[in-house]
C-alpha cells in the first residue's frame, strides 16, 4: 500500500460521486470516491488526509508524451529495483516520499528502468482511496 499525506484542495460533486483533489508535496493527486461532503465529514477543503493506492495500480512511463486519460502523473526518481521471474518491484522517490510500483518483469525490462533515473508514476483516479490520519 502506498500512503501519502496531503491536504484536500478541491472537491467537485455530482450526485453521489465526488472528484477530490489532494495536494501532496505541491502536486495534485485526484481521487474519485462514492461520497459527498454532505454524506462524509472527512470531505472538506483544507482537511489533512492520506492518499492510498495499491502498488500494483501504479503504471510507469518514461519520456511520456501525447495525451493520456490517467489524471495522476507523478514525477519520481527510481531508487531501487527488485526483479523476479514474473514481477518487478520498483521503489521511487516522489519529492521525499516513497512510492512503490509492482509491474511485470517484461514491462520493467522493456522500459529499461535503471536506478537514479527520472520516471513517471501514473495512477488512475478510480484507484486512489482517501483515509484519515491514524
Amino acid at each position: 500500500m502506498n500512503v501519502l499525506q496531503g491536504e484536500i484542495s478541491e472537491i467537485k460533486t455530482e450526485g453521489s460521486l465526488s472528484l477530490v483533489k489532494v495536494m501532496v508535496q505541491n502536486c495534485v493527486i485526484s481521487s474519485l470516491v462514492i461520497d459527498t461532503p454532505q454524506s462524509s465529514d472527512y470531505l472538506k477543503t483544507g482537511h489533512q488526509i492520506n492518499v492510498v493506492f495499491k502498488e500494483t495500480e501504479v503504471i510507469l512511463a518514461k519520456q511520456l508524451e501525447g495525451l493520456i486519460s490517467v489524471q495522476n502523473k507523478l514525477n519520481c526518481i527510481v531508487e531501487h529495483i527488485e526483479r523476479g521471474e514474473v514481477l518487478s518491484k520498483i521503489s521511487m522517490d516522489f519529492h521525499g516520499l516513497r512510492i512503490v510500483s509492482i509491474i511485470t518483469r517484461n514491462a520493467a525490462d522493456q522500459l529499461r528502468i535503471v536506478e537514479k533515473e527520472n520516471i513517471t508514476a501514473l495512477i488512475k483516479s478510480t484507484e486512489v482511496s482517501l483515509a484519515p490520519y491514524d
Binding site: L32, D35, L87, I102
Partner: protein, 275 residues
C-alpha cells in the same frame, strides 16, 4: 470497576456486546437474566418490567422469558439429547416444540445419545436448542463459539442466524471475534471499562480508518504464501476464500488467524447475473 450502562434494543435486533475481557459484557447478560443483581437498575422488556430497584421489582430468573447459552454447554451428562431438551419444558407446555427444535438444529439423528458422545459443535447446538425450548423472545449468547474451531464456528453462526430469523428472536451476543460480529449482528455496543464507548452497525464502527472504501469486508487469514516480490494472502470472508496480493510491508504483523479488513475501490469489481 463500576458497570454503568444505559441502552435500548429494538425487537428482532441481533446485537453484539463487543469489548476486551473484563469490561463487563458477561455481567451485563447476567443482570439481564437475573443471575446477578445490580446495585440500581431498570429493565423493561416489551412493556413488562423485569427490574426496577427503586420500586423493588425484581422478576426471578424463571419468570424472565429468555434463553441463555454459555460458553461451556452446561448439558446434563446423564440425560440423552432429547431428555435434555424435554427437561427444559415448562409445566403444561406442548411437547411438539422439542421435535421441531431437533429438526431445526439438525439433531434428529443424535437425539438418543448422551452429551459425551457429541462433538463440541454438536453439544453447542443442543445448548442452543435447549435455550429455545420455552420459546423465549430474548436469546442471550455468551461467547458460545469461542472454544470451537473456525469451521465449526462458521457453521454454528449459520444455525444461530437461522434460529434468530425463524423464531423472531431478539438476540444479544457477547463476542470479541470481529468477523463473527460482522456476520451475525446488525447492531453493536462496544463496552470498555464498564461503559458503552461506541454503538452502531458493525461496518461503521470497524471501518472508520478507511473512509472512502465502499468495497470492504472483514475476514480471517487462512494462508500466506510468499511468491517472490509479492505475497498471496488467502482470507476467509464469510464462507468464501478470497486471494489477495500483498507486499512484504503490508503483511507485517499478519499471520494465519489474524483478522483483517479487505478493502478495494468500488470501481473495478464486475457484476454479472447468475441464473
Amino acid at each position: 470497576m463500576n458497570l454503568n450502562l444505559d441502552f435500548q434494543i429494538r425487537e428482532k435486533d441481533f446485537v453484539t456486546l463487543y469489548g476486551p475481557s473484563g469490561s463487563g459484557k458477561t455481567t451485563t447478560l447476567r443482570i439481564l437474566s437475573g443471575l446477578t443483581q445490580p446495585d440500581t437498575g431498570f429493565i423493561k422488556v416489551n412493556n413488562e418490567i423485569w427490574l426496577d430497584t427503586e420500586k423493588k421489582i425484581n422478576l426471578s430468573v424463571q419468570k424472565r422469558k429468555l434463553g441463555y447459552v454459555f460458553q461451556d454447554y452446561a448439558l446434563f451428562p446423564n440425560m440423552s439429547i432429547k431428555e435434555n431438551l424435554t427437561f427444559a419444558l415448562e409445566k403444561g407446555q406442548k411437547k411438539n416444540i422439542i421435535d421441531e427444535l431437533l429438526e431445526t438444529m439438525e439433531l434428529v439423528q443424535l437425539k438418543h445419545l448422551k452429551p459425551e458422545k457429541l462433538s463440541g459443535g454438536q453439544k453447542q447446538r443442543v445448548a442452543i436448542a435447549r435455550a429455545l425450548v420455552r420459546q423465549p423472545k430474548l436469546l442471550l449468547l455468551d461467547e458460545p463459539f469461542s472454544s470451537l474451531d473456525i469451521e465449526m464456528r462458521l457453521k454454528l453462526q449459520d444455525f444461530i442466524l437461522r434460529a434468530h430469523r425463524l423464531y423472531r428472536l431478539t438476540t444479544i451476543l457477547v463476542s470479541h471475534d470481529i468477523s463473527e460480529v460482522y456476520k451475525v449482528s446488525n447492531k453493536m455496543f462496544v463496552i470498555e471499562n464498564g461503559t458503552i464507548t461506541k454503538q452502531g452497525d458493525p461496518p461503521s464502527i470497524f471501518s472508520s480508518s478507511l473512509t472512502s472504501r465502499k468495497f470492504q469486508f472483514v475476514g480471517e487469514i487462512v494462508k500466506i504464501e510468499n511468491e517472490n516480490i509479492v505475497y498471496i494472502v488467502s482470507v476467509l470472508i464469510g464462507n468464501n476464500i478470497a486471494k489477495i496480493i500483498a507486499t512484504d510491508q503490508e503483511i507485517q504483523g499478519l499471520q494465519v488467524g489474524s483478522k483483517v479488513l479487505v478493502a478495494s475501490k468500488a470501481f473495478n469489481p464486475i457484476l454479472r447475473k447468475i441464473e
